[in-house]
């Protein structure tokens, strides 16, 4: 092939049991092979039951080609501007079977064949032509909704991706991951890139490439002298890159394990994927939090309070750690340090095969929020805490009361409202007469039997002004408690919807 000819493309089908080594051979000049991320991916794919890899040998990846244009095109070495993309399936099939599927798809069976592939599709991985950092944009199916230990898993940071393979349309639900290349991106770049994948898509914003993030981060704050090769970002640079993407960075300092659980629970369940600033052996590291591992609600530890906190369910996190891979499991625990009251939030990051990796201390949480979401979780809880205390004190409500605070898009809240068992009048008020902000804040008060009532908040205000739009009765609130609900509504000057 001459240097200017149209490149050739081919599709190959490889059985997975041979591992990723068969499709990712050691490149010339690679000092360490396979890289940790490739080994991690192999272990993770085995846990998903991967049986077959379909290989696209010539794939132009939007993120890599931008990195190429910004950085690699001007290197002495001739890096290709294209990648290889691997598609993973949990069913074994041969290249002959693949060819037969393509032929049958042209014979009126396209939907049936696409459906068959879709049911078995685990996601894809872009392999870059970079010897030291081959793992590019990778979207894999998140782990199942229950862990082996019976814990609930919630992947609030995941979203749906459309994948086009040989004219067939497939989908995968997950969050994109990629490895830092230390040229265009460092750990903070890739963590923010993953975090923005989630919220920028929901807000229909431009999805920045790693190169765009690094450029935006160093536009006004450049304390390290040069932006590329990237040697890391400061938290304020992450904020700058977030603003450049059209979002508002909310930085929350790690104060205590209890409060960190509250922040993580609220933001991840609200479908945001925060960047976590960690300290690993004194060196700063950034990961993206994709999901939560939830256990049972724990009893209240503060003897002067009477409600339970839904955030006490958080036992662990699922993170995109660019030194490992996607959905790495991290246990949360309290780390007592010298000094009075010095208890820090620690993460023990584990591999899929449960071999312990390393311990990290949480420093801060950076949440890229839509700019009009001005009411923070902390401010919502300032209203929610006394409400939960009041609810816990009412004789009309049986059993322990639980407080849960989160955001929800108004469209989704209204869709859910059909299941609230409201009166016809109440349902009509909520759906047709109550203006809601695009994202509503929800203070959900529940009993063990289920939700009792919601306080619906306008998130476009900061909380300095009254922001309770309505108090909405939920199915488990006894009729005897309706007068108290009405009195509570009057305190906030909001609407009562029953």
């Amino acid at each position: 092939m001459s240097a200017t000819s149209i490149p050739s493309a081919a599709i190959g089908v490889v059985r997975f049991p041979a591992g990723l080594g068969a499709v990712c051979p050691k490149p010339d000049g690679a000092l360490q092979w396979p890289p940790t991320q490739l080994t991690y991916l192999e272990i993770y794919l085995r846990s998903l039951g991967c049986a077959t890899i379909v290989v696209e040998t010539h794939y132009v990846d939007r993120d890599f080609v931008d990195d190429f244009a910004r950085y690699y095109a001007r290197a002495l070495r001739s890096y290709p501007n294209f990648t290889t993309r691997l598609h993973f399936f949990n069913e074994s099939f041969t290249e002959d079977a693949w060819r037969a599927m393509i032929a049958a798809s042209a014979d009126g069976q396209r939907d049936a064949r696409t459906g068959w592939l879709q049911d078995r599709y685990l996601g894809f991985c872009v392999v870059r032509p970079l010897p030291a950092s081959p793992i590019g944009r990778t979207v894999l199916r998140a782990p199942g909704s229950r862990s082996d230990g019976g814990h609930e898993r919630v992947f609030g940071g995941a979203r749906e991706y459309s994948v086009h393979l040989c004219g067939l349309d497939l989908k995968v639900v997950g969050l994109a991951f990629q490895q830092q290349d230390q040229g265009v991106s460092a750990c903070a770049t890739t963590a923010l890139w993953s975090a923005l994948q989630c919220v920028a898509s929901a807000e229909r914003l431009h999805m920045p490439t790693p190169g765009e993030i690094t450029d935006a981060a160093s536009r006004y704050v450049l304390t390290d002298g040069r932006s590329m090769p990237s040697e890391g970002l400061r938290v304020e640079q992450i904020c700058e890159a977030t603003r450049a993407a059209g979002l508002a960075p909310l930085v929350v300092r790690s104060v205590s394990p209890e409060q960190d659980r509250v922040q993580l629970m609220s933001y991840v369940r609200s479908r945001f994927a925060p960047v976590l600033a960690l300290s690993v052996g004194g060196i700063g590291h950034a990961v993206c939090c994709v999901g939560l591992k939830l256990g049972d609600i724990r009893p209240q530890t503060n003897p002067s309070l009477h409600f339970r906190d839904a955030a006490s369910r958080v036992e662990g996190l699922y993170i995109h750690d660019d030194r490992l891979g996607p959905y790495a499991s991290a246990e949360l625990f309290s780390d007592t340090r010298p000094g009075p009251g010095n208890v820090r939030t620690s993460l023990m990051i584990r591999w899929p095969d449960n071999v312990e990796s390393e311990q990290a201390i949480l420093q801060s949480i950076i949440v890229p929020l839509p700019p009009k979401v001005r009411l923070s979780v902390t401010r919502m809880r300032a209203l929610g805490l006394p409400i939960a205390e009041v609810a816990a004190a009412l004789d009309e409500i049986r059993g322990p009361v639980t407080l849960d605070v989160r955001y929800e898009r108004a469209v989704q809240y209204k869709q859910r409202a059909y299941e609230f068992c409201l009166s016809a009048e109440g349902l009509y008020q909520l759906l047709c007469e109550l203006p809601l902000s695009r994202y509503v804040g929800l203070i959900e008060i529940s009993s063990p039997a289920g939700p009792l009532f919601d306080v619906v908040l306008d998130t476009t205000d900061s909380g300095a002004n009254p922001c309770a739009l309505a108090v909405v009765r939920r199915a488990q609130l006894p009729a005897a408690a309706l007068p108290q609900l009405e009195a509570l509504t009057a305190i906030f000057g909001s609407r009562r919807i029953v």
Binding site: A186, E203, V262, R473
Partner: protein, 77 residues
């Protein structure tokens, strides 16, 4: 400009098929709240607000940012 830059909660997004409404099972409160009950609830709320004040203050500290938080460098290879 985003496609659905709205604040009403009933904008241009495709919300898909509208589900059937569940049968209303919750009776609306027959009686308005009495002045005594309203006063009792106001008092309960005020007492609760006092009880949670220290917790609100502690939680608020998380949003007070310092230079060391913003300048923290994330550079792990």
């Amino acid at each position: 400009m985003r496609e659905s830059d709205h604040d009403t909660g009933r904008g241009s997004e495709d919300i898909g098929p509208v589900p059937k409404p569940a049968a209303p099972t919750a009776p609306v409160s027959p009686e308005p709240v009495t002045p005594n009950e309203a006063a009792r609830m106001r008092q309960l709320f005020e007492q609760a607000r006092q009880r949670v004040k220290p917790l609100i203050k502690r939680e608020g500290e998380a949003e007070v940012l310092t230079d060391d938080v913003l300048n923290f460098r994330l550079s792990r290879m």
